[in-house]
Symmetry: C2
Subunit: 242 residues, 2 copies
């Protein structure tokens, strides 16, 4: 097995992910929300890069059944007129059970767009670290795509990637080759444990604290809270089909 | 002082480096060669992004005095018709003393292009780690730009950046704020010492071994071999002026 880690969506070039399973990470907070939502019974999450695309998607989905919920943030805060923001605390079973969600976030949805040409595209956060490692342990190629922050390396995503790489090394039956990025995040995860304090020391965590949402960090740092691995197919993220 | 690290030239956005000193790193091997060349008496290094630009630059320089030397690589190997390749062993005082060099390499020259809007642009490798830390210790903002490998994170450059950050932390009189990338490379340098074996474990090092140039890695891993910090002004790299 070969494991590669992309520090930002911009590192992914056309063709890089062919034949690989992509694991998309945006700890603070898009993939934490997506894992939480799917675990709590949301039917699907539809990532949208822009507000305009989100509105178009919602209108299209509304034509086929129940009203879809608009979710997402700009600058960390819920978008005016949206049903939900981008805090995992909002994605309760009561709020999202049985519903379709259209989600637009600053960095997370760009990472899913970059990963879309992989054979499989999975959503990961600390919430489902071990479940993700279990899901990819028999694959030939795993490409972890970190959302980063506005095109830059983001430490929270890198540390999460590293803890997934370490969980994978414990599980993989075949020898594992780690490319440069995978070596680096493995070593960062050896230095950085998972905690609200660790997240608060990163640019993404600091930005959240600055807009008064620092309480989310303790939740985002919860490891193995869920056993589910959301999967994106044809641009739609759902629970994996049996 | 704020210290930031860009994992690739592509992470640098317009305006990011205003007011900062940029430190460009391409350990394997462009900045190792540049430090070696300037330390050995080269008058100047003119980075060129393409072979075409290199030829135009050389022709222009030849019109103003001694013939400039063409240096550089593609796929790690000396370019046909060029005077020198991209091995630090070639940049001896006998070869480059008093000469102007036009240099084109795959990743290094792109990093200098990305860094050109900084207030000062310095060239760094393991060869001049401590001298670089001395040169920037009183600056308000230091932006380390890693060349990476074809737009991807490169472990050799990140480890070098980390050892420079550590040297800087020992020297800076004012408190130092480390952005996400700087935190990460500082921690990687705590795990990875500097050796030919470390470099051989990276993608850049492996690529060099594969084309039969692995012997360069032991040289590229030499720490504090030189006390000089080459500086780029108006697109030309020279020894710093007194």
């Amino acid at each position: 097995m070969r494991v590669d880690v992309y520090c930002t969506p911009e590192e992914v070039r056309a063709g890089d992910l062919a034949g690989a399973t992509a694991v998309v990470i945006d700890v603070v907070r898009a993939t934490s929300c997506i894992v939480e939502a799917i675990a709590n019974g949301a039917r699907a999450v539809h990532p949208a890069v822009s507000l305009e695309e989100a509105a178009v998607l919602q209108a299209r989905l509304n034509g086929h059944g129940d009203r879809a919920l608009l979710c997402g943030e700009r600058g960390g805060l819920r978008i005016d007129g949206f049903d939900l923001g981008n805090s995992p605390t909002e994605f309760t079973a009561a709020a999202v059970g049985g519903r379709r969600l259209v989600m637009t976030t600053t960095n997370g949805t760009r990472a899913f767009a970059a990963a879309r040409h992989a054979d499989r595209v999975l959503a990961a956060s600390f919430f489902n670290r071990s479940a993700v490692a279990d899901a990819v342990r028999d694959d030939d190629a795993v490409a972890i795509v970190c959302a980063g922050k506005e095109g830059r390396f983001s430490l929270d995503d890198a540390v999460c990637a590293g803890h997934i790489v370490r969980a994978l090394l414990e599980r993989a039956a075949d020898p594992v080759t780690l490319a440069d990025g995978a070596l680096a995040v493995r070593d960062l995860a050896g230095v950085h444990g998972v905690s609200a304090d660790m997240l608060a020391g990163t640019a993404a965590g600091q930005a959240l604290v600055e807009v008064g949402l620092g309480a989310d960090l303790a939740l985002c740092a919860r490891i193995d809270r869920h056993q589910i691995v959301p999967m994106m197919q044809d641009g739609v993220i759902t629970a994996p089909r049996a």
